[in-house]
């Protein structure tokens, strides 16, 4: 068993365990903690899959941003009795049952697929041949430059060295810009929604 394999299994176990702990734990603060653990180790899995930029983004945005946001949400809402909301055992068993069946189905589906054949029928070409000199190979990680260029609309991995009439690939400039605008809108909308309002009388049950 090689070191990468060992690392992979460790990360996979922590990730899955964290996720299950999130499901199992009743305290919302603990759930937040287990979520951090789970997603953090997931970034480790991304590193293992040579997706260094995605893994970094996962750490920065998820663990450093989104989860901190969630923790703030927990802080702002979890007061006293609200911190622990028990679910009924019936719900739990039902959910567990459905979840198990769901997982089984997915697992069996994944196992039953011949991934190499599918990949070949999808593209019919070998990825590594198209990577020109000066760029790191995909297997070696370091995808930052390609991703950056892709976001600026340049697909060096596809267009460089390709015949003239095939240079039709497009990058992700437009989605990138749309996402930028989207984030701005979300920022404004979220602050509008969450702004302090006059309190109304609690709902009478």
């Amino acid at each position: 068993m090689t070191i990468p394999q060992i690392l992979f299994y460790i990360f996979a176990l922590v990730t899955c365990g964290g996720a299950i702990a999130v499901v199992v734990s009743q305290n919302v603060v603990r759930m937040a903690f287990w979520l951090i653990v789970s997603l953090g180790s997931l970034s480790g899995l991304f590193f293992m899959a040579h997706a260094d930029f995605v893994a970094g983004a996962q750490l920065l945005i998820y663990v450093g941003g989104t989860l901190v946001l969630l923790v703030f949400g927990v802080m702002l809402t979890a007061s006293g009795a609200q911190r622990q909301l028990k679910m009924s055992p019936a719900d739990g068993f039902l959910a567990a049952g459905v979840g198990t069946v769901f997982l089984t189905i997915i697992m069996s589906t994944v196992i039953s697929v011949d991934w190499d054949g599918v990949s070949k029928t999808l593209t019919g070409e070998v990825v590594s041949q198209k990577i020109p000199t000066g760029y790191n190979k995909g297997e070696e990680g370091n995808t930052i430059r390609r991703l950056g260029l892709g976001f600026l609309g340049i697909r060096a991995d596809k267009d460089l060295g390709a015949p003239e009439d095939k240079k039709i690939s497009t990058g992700y400039l437009l989605p990138f810009e749309i996402v930028s605008i989207h984030l701005l809108v979300v920022l404004i909308g979220a602050s509008y929604l969450a702004r302090a309002k006059r309190k109304v009388a609690p709902r009478t049950n």
């Binding site: 999130v22 997915i106 995808t143 996402v179």
Partner: protein, 103 residues
């Protein structure tokens, strides 16, 4: 990187996904449901990154993974704002109390 199969990644993604679903289905806390959503999204992201690594889709899957992360952040911000608004209006975070849409 020999020895780690695509299926291993997909199993991790499946476990995350199902955990997220179960989390959403069971938690009465709205924040808990949001966490379930995050888990589901990450389960999907694991699959994307794995296919980027192992199949001929290549770097495009990573682009999508990045977009998913960014949109998840946006979704989290908005959902949290809604949660706070809900909390302000109902003095509780229990989603079982939010049954205004009952038929």
């Amino acid at each position: 990187m020999e020895g780690i199969s695509l299926n291993s990644f997909l199993f991790v993604g499946a476990i995350l996904f199902v955990s997220g679903i179960v989390c959403m289905a069971t938690k009465r806390n709205l924040i808990g449901i949001l966490m379930g959503v995050e888990l589901v999204l990450n389960g999907a992201n694991v699959n994307l990154v794995a296919f980027s690594r192992y199949s001929s889709i290549g770097i495009d899957a990573k682009f999508i993974a990045l977009f998913v992360i960014v949109l998840a952040a946006a979704e989290a911000a908005v959902a949290l704002a809604i949660a706070l608004s809900f909390y302000n209006n109902h003095q509780t975070i229990d989603v079982d109390q939010a049954d205004e849409l009952q038929g």
